[in-house]
């Protein structure tokens, strides 16, 4: 009985953390290239509704997931054009993208309000899933949960082991030096931004197709913002992003269990619902106070427009 509760909390935590991991790792790659895209919330929202609508009409959830990613890429392209080609202010552009995306998703989603998709069955990994307590929680999961772990290793490897990742970090630190050596700074930043868009779209798709397979306006509920905050407070390091995302998921799930347990606690439910946001930010602020870590890991040129000298 006790083991079951732990298993279900762990299971739910992993699921709740997954969209954050996917979106935040995408954003981390974007920021490492020196681009600050605050539009994650908007890209997620549009990705969520695109994935939901396509899945509903086609009946094929992978078509839907693809549509969600494409929608995220399209939003990111809009951002990249304004911020990288027209050299618009990245903060303002990102904020506008968030507002636009949330509104656009609500508009497109009007006809789908309260529609429901079929739940996607989890994929059970033989043997691993038989481990007591954690097996069922970790190895009987949605495909995208496994994907988020692969993505984590892939991002780690890309950024710190591959040559392309080295170039990306170099562009983020000093675009003018990278340009002087002869790297196509703008193109690299475009690619990173589009990758971030695809991941945000995927995160949105996970919410609307896998996590809660139905459409409700505003269902992204600030997760895009948390993802952006995670990247900064995790001092741009993938492992901390992963842990921060699960922290958020854990508190989120725990407070739901408390609300659902019928325990008589004298507290407004809104306060409990806000707990995961509080907890994540407070913990991350506390661990990101080390200035050395921030200076060694922060992309120096973050948010600064770059115009190659002709």
């Amino acid at each position: 009985m006790d083991g079951n509760i732990i298993t279900s909390i762990l299971f739910a935590t992993v699921v709740a953390g997954t969209p954050l991991i996917i979106v935040a790792l995408g954003e981390l790659v974007v920021e490492k290239s020196g681009v600050l895209n605050l539009g994650a919330e908007g890209m997620m929202s549009v990705g969520a509704i695109a994935a939901f609508a396509v899945t509903l009409h086609s009946g094929n959830l992978w078509l839907g997931v693809g549509a969600g990613m494409l929608a995220g890429v399209a939003m990111a392209l809009l951002f990249a054009f304004v911020a990288l080609t027209l050299l618009g202010n990245q903060v303002a552009t990102g904020l506008a993208l968030s507002i636009l995306g949330v509104g656009l998703a609500a508009f497109i989603g009007k006809p789908y309000e309260s529609e429901v998709l079929q739940a996607v069955p989890p994929i059970r990994i033989p043997f691993l899933a038989d481990i007591p307590v954690i097996g069922e929680a970790l190895w009987n999961q949605q495909s995208l949960v496994y994907f988020s772990w692969i993505l984590f290793w892939a991002v780690l490897w890309f950024l710190f082991r591959s040559r392309a990742g080295l170039v990306l970090r170099a562009v983020g630190e000093s675009p003018s030096s990278a340009h002087a050596i002869g790297y196509p700074v703008i193109r690299i930043r475009y690619l990173a931004t589009l990758f971030g868009g695809a991941m945000a779209g995927l995160g949105g798709a996970f919410l609307s197709v896998f996590y809660t397979p139905l459409w409700v306006e505003g269902m992204v509920a600030g997760r895009g913002w948390i993802a952006v905050a995670l990247v900064v407070f995790a001092t741009w390091r993938p492992l901390r992003v992963l842990l921060g995302a699960y922290l958020f998921g854990g508190v989120m799930v725990s407070q739901l269990f408390i609300q659902g347990s019928g325990l008589d606690i004298n507290m407004p439910s809104q306060f409990l619902s806000s707990l995961p946001y509080w907890a994540t930010i407070i913990v991350l602020v506390m661990i990101s106070r080390n200035r050395n870590l921030v200076r060694l890991n922060a992309p120096v040129s973050l948010g600064q427009p770059f115009k190659p000298e002709s």
Partner: protein
């Protein structure tokens, strides 16, 4: 055709125009294989633009480039490197948070094993006497080491032409000689070198041929060995080098006293100040030499009050303990301060000169009941502009519209007009052309003669020897004892810049000496 050997690089009539200025006007020059060719000129003469054209960073509006006898259009730096052109930048193009080997890997278009590359780096560094550890992160390296990384990075590409942009501005005199040996060795192997500088003595020592630029035009070509510094200076600035006029004076009572100033840096790339002692007397100019990044920035922050100390006693201005005071309180005690960065700290780029004057000179009757007296403010700025010969569009011109030298004259003027009791100046003539630099030095000498105590922190040894009464050296956050200028030499101070002064702490000494060698 003729039998003359083909030039490695030939420029014909290169012209590059920017919206407001012609940076290069029909520049032609020829570099032979194995030749060390100087490009001599003042700041703003168009040297850097010319190098950017050769390296493909920017494209000329007119003219042609011949590489080993063939016309080429150099599209971008990658193309330049493919041709065999390497460049060592004046402001390093290294990535601070990456390691040496990662930095090198970025510049070489080869993928693969960083371990192998690290060994190649070690080989090259041994062959050319450029010691550097490939596994260290760049931010932990001294400026001299960073330059070595840049040079090694170029050498690994086996260049046929190496461009060096003001390479010695960050080196100790000893390190300069080491660099020259490396360059001579390279030239002997057939590599051509384009050596950009405004330092006449270095060019005489090192270069086979010199092309002199002034206002974007070639004003002469010469063999430096056959010239005198005076004759080259005339080509470079159009007139003889001005010599400062020293005034006899005897120092009075100490006005700035620093005793036992120590402080940790909370910047991970910063330097810890250790037990700094110094005195500057009325009428005296004291210089602090040193390679940048050895604690100058931290010392300036502590002296100006931008980062006040925890205790009062280590800093005294005219006898008043000022350690815990902020910049405003210290200014009220008669401290004047000219920071190294003109735009951003010395002046607000977007504000007019009048407002920039007000920023520190508000105590000169420019305020009444906390409100600005606009007429007085403009009059102050005009007085400053007139007396210090600031070339600008008047008191309403924005600070950023001025050239570096003119803005520096304005900032110096603003402080000098307030007749400070103590004046602290960082890099008084950095990036300032020779004429304006001479003027600024003369102003400092005159100010000292009127009883002000002046502390100058500079990386230009010649400048310090020219104007100072006493010299000290900062290395690794420690300050050397002081020497009268008449009783020391550039060689001795150069040695001290590596941390090797009598009684210096052994451990720091070894590390610094290694960094500078």
């Amino acid at each position: 055709m003729n039998d003359a050997p083909t030039a490695r690089l030939e420029l014909r009539g290169i012209t590059k125009t920017y919206p407001s200025v012609v940076a290069n006007d029909r520049v032609s020059l020829k570099v032979m294989p194995g030749e060390i060719h100087a490009v001599l000129g003042e700041n703003g003469a168009g040297k850097s633009t010319l190098m950017k054209v050769i390296y493909g960073v920017t494209h000329p509006g007119a003219g042609e480039i011949l590489w080993e006898g063939e016309r080429v259009r150099i599209r971008n730096p990658a193309h330049a490197r493919a041709l065999g052109i390497g460049m060592v930048f004046q402001h390093f193009s290294l990535f601070e948070t990456l390691t040496v080997v990662e930095n090198v890997a970025l510049a070489l278009e080869l993928s693969g094993d960083l371990g192998l590359l690290a060994r190649q780096i070690e080989q090259v560094s041994e062959k050319y006497g450029l010691p550097v550890d490939p596994r260290r992160r760049v931010h932990a390296l001294s400026v001299g080491e960073r330059q070595r990384v840049e040079i090694i990075r170029c050498l690994l590409q086996k260049p046929k032409l190496l461009i060096m942009d003001e390479p010695t501005s960050v080196l100790t005199p000893g390190a300069v000689q080491k660099l020259f040996e490396t360059l001579r060795q390279l030239a002997a192997e057939g590599c051509s070198i384009l050596y950009i500088s405004h330092k006449l003595d270095e060019i005489q020592q090192l270069c086979h041929v010199a092309t002199v630029l002034r206002d974007g035009r070639v004003t002469g070509e010469c063999v430096p060995a056959n010239e005198t510094p005076e004759s080259m200076a005339r080509l470079m600035i159009g007139k003889a080098l001005p010599v400062p006029e020293l005034r006899p004076h005897s120092p009075g009572a100490p006005r700035l006293q620093v005793a036992g100033l120590s402080r940790d840096s909370d910047d991970p790339f910063g330097v810890e100040l250790q037990d700094i002692h110094l005195d500057v007397r009325a009428g005296e100019i004291v210089g602090i030499a040193g390679v940048s990044g050895n604690g100058q920035k931290e010392l300036l922050l502590a002296l100006s009050g931008e980062e006040p100390l925890a205790e009062r006693y280590p800093i005294r201005i005219d006898g008043v303990e000022a350690g815990r005071m902020g910049p405003r309180a210290r200014r009220r005690l008669g401290l004047g301060f000219v920071p190294e960065e003109r735009l951003g700290r010395g002046a607000v780029p977007s504000l007019s000169l009048a407002f920039n004057g007000l920023l520190t000179a508000h105590g000169q009757g420019l305020l009444r009941h906390g409100l600005i007296r606009f007429a007085a403010m403009r009059a102050f700025a005009r007085r400053c502009i007139e007396r210090f010969d600031v070339r600008c569009g008047g008191a309403e011109a924005a600070a950023r519209s001025l050239s570096g030298g003119n803005l520096q004259k304005f900032i110096m003027g603003r402080e000098i007009l307030q007749s400070p009791g103590v004046l602290i100046v960082a890099q008084p003539t950095w990036g300032v052309d020779v004429g304006a630099a001479a003027f600024i030095r003369q102003q400092l000498i005159d100010l000292a003669a009127s009883g002000t105590a002046i502390l100058v922190i500079s990386e230009e040894l010649e400048e310090l020897f020219e104007i100072c009464d006493r010299l000290m050296v900062i290395a690794g956050g420690r300050l050397s004892p002081s020497r009268r200028v008449s009783e020391t030499s550039i060689e001795e101070i150069g040695l001290w810049m590596s941390g090797l002064w009598p009684g210096a702490d052994g451990q720091a000494t070894v590390e610094r000496a290694d960094a500078a060698s």
